[in-house]
Amino acid sequence: MAEHYAPGATRAAIWRRYLRFWGPRVVADVDDELRFHIEMRVRDYMQRGLSEGEARAATARRLGDLATQRAECLTITTRRERRMTRAQLVDALRQDVRFAFRTLGRQRGWTTVATLTLALGIGANTGVFSVVNSLLLHPLPYPHADRIAILFQEPTLGNQTGMNVMVSPRPSLVRQWRESARSFEDIEAYSTTDMTLVPERGEAASLHIASILPTLPTFAGKHVLIGRSFANADLTEGGHVAMLSEGLWRGRFGSEPGVIGRALSLDGSLYTVIGVMPAAFRLPASQQNATDVWLPLDMHNEHVGLMTTARLRPGVSYDAARRELDSITKRLDVSEGNRVGFRAKLVPPAQMVQFRDSLLLLTAAVTLVLLIACANVAHLMLARAATRHRELAIRGALGAGTGRLVRQLLTESLVLSAAGSVGGLVVGWLGLELLVALRPASLANLDEARMDTTTLLVTIALGVLTGLLFGLAGAIQSARQSTHESLKAGTLSTSHSRRQNRLRGLLVVSEIALSTMLLIGASLLVRSVIRLQTMDPGFRTEGMYGLSIILPEKAYATPAARHAFYAELVTRARTVPGVEMAMMAEGAPPMQNFLIGALQLEGQPAPPAGTTGFINYNGVEPYYFREMGIRLREGTTFSDTSEKSDQVMVNAGFARKYWPNGSAVGKRLRTVFNGQGEWRTIVGVVDNAFTSGLTMEASQPMLYVPYQGQFQPSLIVRVTAGTNAIAAVRSLMPQIDRHLPAPDVTNVEAAMRDSIAAPRFTMLLLAAFTLLALVLAAVGLYGVLAYAVAQRTREIGIRIALGASRRIIARAIIGQGVLLATGGIVFGLAGSFWATRFIDKMLYGVPRGDPVSFAAGTALLFATAMAACLVPMRRAVRVDPVIAMRAE
């Protein structure tokens, strides 16, 4: 067999390996091999004396056409090649990962800084995303929640409240919608109220009641725990059946199954308990109080306001559904002789979520933080790439291809970002716990925020994305470098370092720009909250309480009966020790009461038919202003408080809006609703006051009418600090009528404070994220300058040796920092001018272009940047020329 020894094998193998780079050439190889066999056979025959033609013919006879064998060889070899490629990849990956771990482990400090930066950036996002995911993406725990909309109506014209007003449709309209609208699978209506439970023994209690249609449990995809749910027959039989909530059943009724069939006394009427609904069964509105008792809804009672929720048929758009509802509404309005202009409004449940705008703002903020974190780690990668320059060059010279080196660096980034993601999950979880623990009482729905599989997947995706993002920067940079150059020169080539410095400068400038935007945004919110907190509410809140007085319709059917009760209540309240003041009003602050009707001033044409307006109003006693501490600017207070009184008072905002140049006193106006409305005369003008809460504009037009005790009025009391008077006042109601529960009490002072709790919470969170961003940006700037100083040690040494003063050196370093910071600030300011429009509606009393906030944000950023310059600068001026020049 020695004759087959191949002297050229090695050379060919190299050539072959080169070809391999372009992928296996299976077909050509198999064909070559078989052709070689044929040629050899032919040669053999010819050596035995056959002519070439004869030899070929003999070979063909002997071998056949070889097609089957060729195909077989191809299959086997292709299969083998594929398996080998896969094995090689896995092997290379394992090598890369092991190598990455070893390299990262060797530079513990570096790895810790990078991982921590990533963990903070990713963690902030994970935390905020958990909240967004739970609250905004899954606002309703109902089946097919994506097709659910809440139905309202909005006035087409003449809204004078300065707020986005949406009203619930009237029952007759909802009935018509339910019957005729084809855009929906189902339209659900419900109403809520509070009722008094009078048990056989023990104290009366006020319960949250929801009246629902028999179809709501199916709509919500929930079933009774025990007993049965409502049926249509329940209503025709008088509707005196009730379902208990799981909470009430477990608490008050001790989870007793025997509760079914028992009688429940609510507001003096008896209801038979037929079932218990699970705690997961909730009304389709997220901020509703937990319901205690469910009653069947009587849709023919026109006096209740209905909340309406509907599920669209698949494929029906909001717009098409709205048009259909409006056409149904129009038909009904015509037949009922209604001339008020409302159009339907479909609101996705997520839009009803409290804190929604803040969550969107915070999402934007944490995204910026993550970008800054990425830029920082990209820096770190670049700085490290520079120190590893020789290592990479040597590996390149030893045969590692560019692709291989880039892959190695990317693997390192991914390993790093995986560590960052794990850290991020921990940070996010801690952050979420902290967020829920610190939430203001008014944001109860934050408690529902959870981390789930989606959060986990998003975190992993973020990790991979960031890994690629910062990894690529370093990898491309390293791959570009010429191997030859780096090996030859002991130091970095100037062209390379200039290019790298430019990239690092760019990163730092974008970091500073993003931080500037965050800082200005945070400054605006801080200023806004400070304004809210220090704002004079316009009335004296100290010691003030509001008690909402609800009288059962049945027992107090006539106005006279109600008035007698209110008078008795006020009289008794004034005798309680510690009570400084007690009076009735239609509403107690912070409240939002509207008069519905289009405003018409005397001398002006009547508003067009169909115009609807909403005007803030309150019904008050003549001494209300004196007791509240709201100054009378002009005219007098009410002198006629009878039912026939035509007197009205307005706030300064009202007077200025409609009579900017003259006095409002003596002017006449009316509110027109359905073509009707009595003319009233303005007798006085009072100062603006934040009686609707601090986040509303005090200068919104406000009407005051004499108190009539019409709807559910409030008892306003002021008690001396440190007394227990309010408890005594609260117990007055059951004392007057033992069937009445003690009323709900609002601490006005605390409620006014609470009305700014949400903005303050948003501000605190944004400030925290901004601080994080600022620290990261400072670290980034510090890193760039420190690196520059280290790079230029030799040069600095020479300059000092040649007589350059330390001041000149310091100025050079600071100058570089100032340049970078200024660049970032300029871009950041430009970005802020554009981006602040998105937070405009979260600002109270501060314009979005507020120069103070812009200046403060810029100054703080600049100061931080200068602080970051200090250490590198000191290092530069302390360079010892002798040591610096001896090095290398």
Partner: protein
Amino acid sequence: MNTSVEFLKGTLDLMVLKTLSWAPSHGYGIARWIEQCTGDVLQVEEGSLYPALHKLEERGLITAEWGISENNRRAKFYRLTAAGKKQLAASHDSWARFADAVFKVLKTAPTGR
């Protein structure tokens, strides 16, 4: 020997491994070697040699490398691997025992007749 072709298919692997145990060789060389050794008695069906070689390569018993042949042409050379050597030894023994057993049957005449 035409009747033995099926029987011999299983033994082709063994012969290839044995051939390669002397020295690396290309496919044609292997075919020629088996021909020369067995004379006209065993004629390898040349086409089936190549699928057999590729299968052995896939099983890791032999490896292949492209080289230059004695007449200066590009040819694929096969070489026995360590696993191939082990396999050869095992097959060799079992084949020898098998052949021995068959041979005994053929040689032994019944005694009881």
